[in-house]
């Protein structure tokens, strides 16, 4: 009898924990669903940077010339709008062409992984995601070493 009650507890405790986690998960919109649609880049700023001399990189937005330099070797180079589609596809729209890449959310949906042609792979930290706003961070070592913050708005 005592052994049976132990077994019952051994089954009930994990089931209770797992059940509550699943109920919570299924009743809310997942980040994978939330990210779908069109997002427009609204700003590029340094979240953290090695400030050189009197220049405070943290305070100012990154201008177009700097943005061009920073993103030159990246998949997202010159992208203005990002269109996430349900088939794990992402269309990056620039003013003269579209680039199709694959996307996936990894970890505890805190990493956005982009893959181009199964050759190039990039990772961005998904800092904030809601119905209106998305914030990505990535580490940069071009020009000024630091963490670059890209802010998007849903369109």
């Amino acid at each position: 009898m005592k052994f049976l009650s132990h077994v019952l507890i051994a089954v009930l405790i994990p089931l209770l924990l797992l059940g509550s986690a699943f109920v919570l998960r299924s009743n809310h919109l997942s980040p994978e669903q939330m990210i779908m649609g069109n997002w427009k880049e609204v700003s590029w700023t340094y979240e953290k940077a090695d400030n050189k001399g009197s220049v405070n990189f943290n305070a100012e937005p990154i201008n177009d010339a700097m943005k061009h330099m920073i993103s030159q070797s990246k998949i997202i180079h010159e992208a203005e709008t990002w269109n996430f589609t349900p088939d794990s596809g992402l269309v990056l729209n620039t003013h003269h062409k579209n680039l199709n890449v694959d996307w996936a959310l990894m970890g505890s949906s805190n990493i956005l992984r982009l893959k181009y042609n199964d050759e190039f792979e990039e990772h961005y930290n998904l800092i904030e995601l809601n119905e209106k706003r998305m914030v990505l961070h990535f580490e940069n070592d071009r020009l000024t070493r630091g963490i670059v913050k890209i802010t998007f708005e849903k369109i």
């Binding site: 051994a10 986690a21 998960r25 809310h28 997942s30 794990s88 959310l105 970890g107």
Partner: protein, 265 residues
């Protein structure tokens, strides 16, 4: 066998078992970090995420953190439950059940990842959960076997203990304490095993991808065989000891009888 050499043998066994377990845990952690961007051999980070998401009110992420933590908890719970309830009947069986369950989890993740995984979020969450359950099983097993003094899947507590023991050695009256040195040897070996496991996984993961979990399962089978051989050799040792003691008693009894006969004559 005298007490000192028996203690030495016990320590060597613990070092080998601890190093092998830590080796596999290191491999699992680095593999999951590369493949899923998530740690699976410890849950301190997941507790931090849970706390942060609680503060932000992000229910979805709270649920995921809860799911992962509860799976690790469940693994440790089952491990100790099986060992404590099975120890009286068959020690080896009670040790091997958590290892077999862990192997099943690792093989499942390896095969699913290799043949089915489409990199969706729900798949990632479930595969990470399975790995956390497996690591919970392993940590529960090693901790239960070593009376809660040995944990091989994470190094925070171990590093703290190692530093404390090292500082003890600088105290003059403590410097010669053999058990402090032995504990340090054990902890150092575990840290080294974990590091080597992680480095090996980091090296082969780019070629092996999800098949790395199959290799880890093979390493787990080696641990299981080692545990079996130790349990078997300990059983044999006690059997031989009992036979020897019985032989000594019999000889002593015979001598007594002969002595009495001599005295009577």
């Amino acid at each position: 066998m005298n007490t000192a050499s028996r203690e030495n043998r016990k320590l060597n066994d613990k070092i080998k078992f601890g190093m092998m377990s830590a080796f596999t845990a290191g491999m699992v952690n680095v593999s999951s970090l590369v493949l899923f961007f998530s740690f699976t051999s410890n849950i301190t980070g997941h507790f931090a995420i849970l706390a942060n998401e609680l503060a932000n009110g992000n229910i979805f992420k709270i649920a995921i953190a809860l799911l992962w933590i509860s799976l690790y908890f469940t693994g440790s719970f089952f491990s100790n439950f099986l060992i404590r309830n099975g120890a009286t009947t068959n020690k080896y069986l009670s040790h091997s059940v958590p290892i077999v369950l862990e192997i099943i989890c690792l093989v499942a993740v390896g095969l699913y990842g290799h043949y089915v995984y489409a990199e969706t979020l729900i798949e990632t969450e479930i595969l990470v959960a399975v790995l956390l359950f497996a690591m919970g099983l392993q940590n529960g097993l090693t901790a239960s076997i070593a009376s809660f003094g040995l944990k091989t899947t994470h190094l925070t507590g171990l590093t703290t203990d190692l530093a404390i023991h090292l500082s003890m050695l600088f105290k003059k009256d403590m410097a010669n304490k053999e058990n402090i040195r032995n504990r340090m040897k054990l902890m150092g070996s575990i840290a080294l095993g974990y590091l080597i496991g992680g480095a090996v996984a980091g090296k082969i993961i780019h070629y092996a991808h999800f098949m790395v979990f199959i290799y880890i399962s093979v390493a787990m089978i080696v641990i299981m065989v080692y545990d079996w051989s130790k349990t078997f050799s300990i059983k044999e040792m006690y059997k031989r000891q009992r036979q020897r003691q019985r032989a000594i008693f019999t000889t002593t009894d015979e001598q007594d009888v002969l002595g009495k006969k001599y005295a009577q004559s």
